[in-house]
Symmetry: C2
Subunit: 320 residues, 2 copies
Amino acid sequence: MDAEALRTFVTVAETGHFQAAADELGISQQAVSKRIAALERHLGVMLLVRTSRGSRPSPDGQVFLPYAKKVLVVVEQAEQAVRPGSRPLRVDVLNRRISPAQAVYRFHRSHPERELDVVRLSSENAAQAAQAVLEGTVDASFRALAADQVPAGISVERLMDAPLELLVGPGHPLADATHVRPAELAGHRIWIPGITPGTEWAAFYRSLSGAFGLSIDALGPDFGPEALMDTLAESNSLATLVGRGDRYLWPRAHDLRRIPLSDPTPVYPHVLLFRSGDQHPVLTALRAYLGTAGPRCPQDVWAPEWVGAADRTTEPAGTN
Amino acid sequence: MDAEALRTFVTVAETGHFQAAADELGISQQAVSKRIAALERHLGVMLLVRTSRGSRPSPDGQVFLPYAKKVLVVVEQAEQAVRPGSRPLRVDVLNRRISPAQAVYRFHRSHPERELDVVRLSSENAAQAAQAVLEGTVDASFRALAADQVPAGISVERLMDAPLELLVGPGHPLADATHVRPAELAGHRIWIPGITPGTEWAAFYRSLSGAFGLSIDALGPDFGPEALMDTLAESNSLATLVGRGDRYLWPRAHDLRRIPLSDPTPVYPHVLLFRSGDQHPVLTALRAYLGTAGPRCPQDVWAPEWVGAADRTTEPAGTN
DNA sequence: TACTTCCACAACGAGAAGTTGTTACTGGGG
DNA sequence: CCCCAGTAACAACTTCTCGTTGTGGAAGTA
């Protein structure tokens, strides 16, 4: 029992003519005739009385008509319930204080009618996040996933490169520099606590230290942003790296300095993960927004080689 | 949106496995996979999360599941509403006092569980009755329709031959005969009032009179059975013809005689009209009952040549 | 009678939907 | 550690449904 067959019957019953129903449905009169005949054969009863002046429902057809209409209504409700865009888009941002969350927030303010749920998955593991996207728990997730680790059915789009800045205390030798080249950081101690081995963050900083010969100290207890800032403010040698635009380490109370890195500018490549073929309109709008209105990064940038090219969408074989 | 696709989704959601659903539905696992993929493509969302240990509904699938079930319920109700046998069979008997009505009544008593509505169409015209059958106003009609006048889509079955008997008053020359040959009636005046020209009755008696050289007076005002019986009782020359088993002219108060005709026995061929392919179970049972338990007629019978052979079913091209 | 309208039938091509055979992935047990 | 069982997807092929165009018959109408 096909919904199109029921719709055809209802249309014929309401118009009174096969040809009129065919016009309304955009098919030929012969196709209408076949659909009705197939429906009658399926049900085992005659539904329409054919005359030379049109057709009208038979007694059985009059009984069937309201049922057919109801089926169509329920089918429409069912399709509506899961129509892409019928529910808010669920975006996982990993951390509300860093650039992607800020960008999503800007998107939300500029498109108030686009319903959006910002969530945080409990895991920091990009593979688990991809799994969550695949299962539909979230629709999209900002991560830094290696291009060769993208599971089948997941598309990735590198939508936002966050330029790194050096964060130092007022006593640090580089405190008054206007720019710093990454190579100049060799020999300085860079401390980034709270990085769990195996996460995407750890992989990024491992690549960064390898590329420029830095010594990045990712170990040590993490007592939170306040403790980190206190330590930086009092130290003449410690430095850390933050993304431009991050609200993670912000307060100026400690007289900390943000010094842009350049020549090249290392960027943290925020990648958006989503299901291949996901047609949620808010997702489409978000991708378009970040692809155009998102912060433009300098020309001379550095990113780990395991990240795909900027703005490239990997399209593995989708489900089915 | 096909009901089978929804049924497949519901089955997978309930069993948790494509293969189990395939077994339950009697198709291959690959077919289930294709149906689900097509449904997901149609809706634009993923409904099931596939794992190596089976499948479970995704968040969207959980939303869709109750709607899918409801569609199936409504579809089942719709099919039930018009399922052949869901309503009583409507049989048109033309006249409650003649043999077919008696036979239908016996059928009803021997099969009390078979729901049956006996109706009388206003028209005595067999063609109009066939039209009513075609339109579904009635499911079957007892008539005497010429085989070559059967419209397309109508099946006819000659299920009951009613042997004719001569009905005369006590003073009639044949009043004490045990049998009468039709040829012996030549010269006698046979009066059958109330026959409207153009009806099936008129056609039958025209054939009968032609075949045996009878003079059948079909004209004259019809004052009803009582008046006819009064006239017969008082007349020494008038006679009329009735079917054996008819309750039409029955009361013995007038001392009327019923004299069987034989050698050959003229029979009024009651033919059942119904829609070709009508699967109403009560219709099937009625046809079987009349084909076996119906009154057997003598070997040497006469019927108009325009009636099909006994127990023959004409099967014109059905609709579609 | 000619003409129109209405629907059904026939033939055919495209595509859907089933089948079997095979592959890829996952998780558990020897 | 590797193999095996289980699950679902992919590929190739067959069948047949479903659409199209073209045509025909029946019935009303000018």
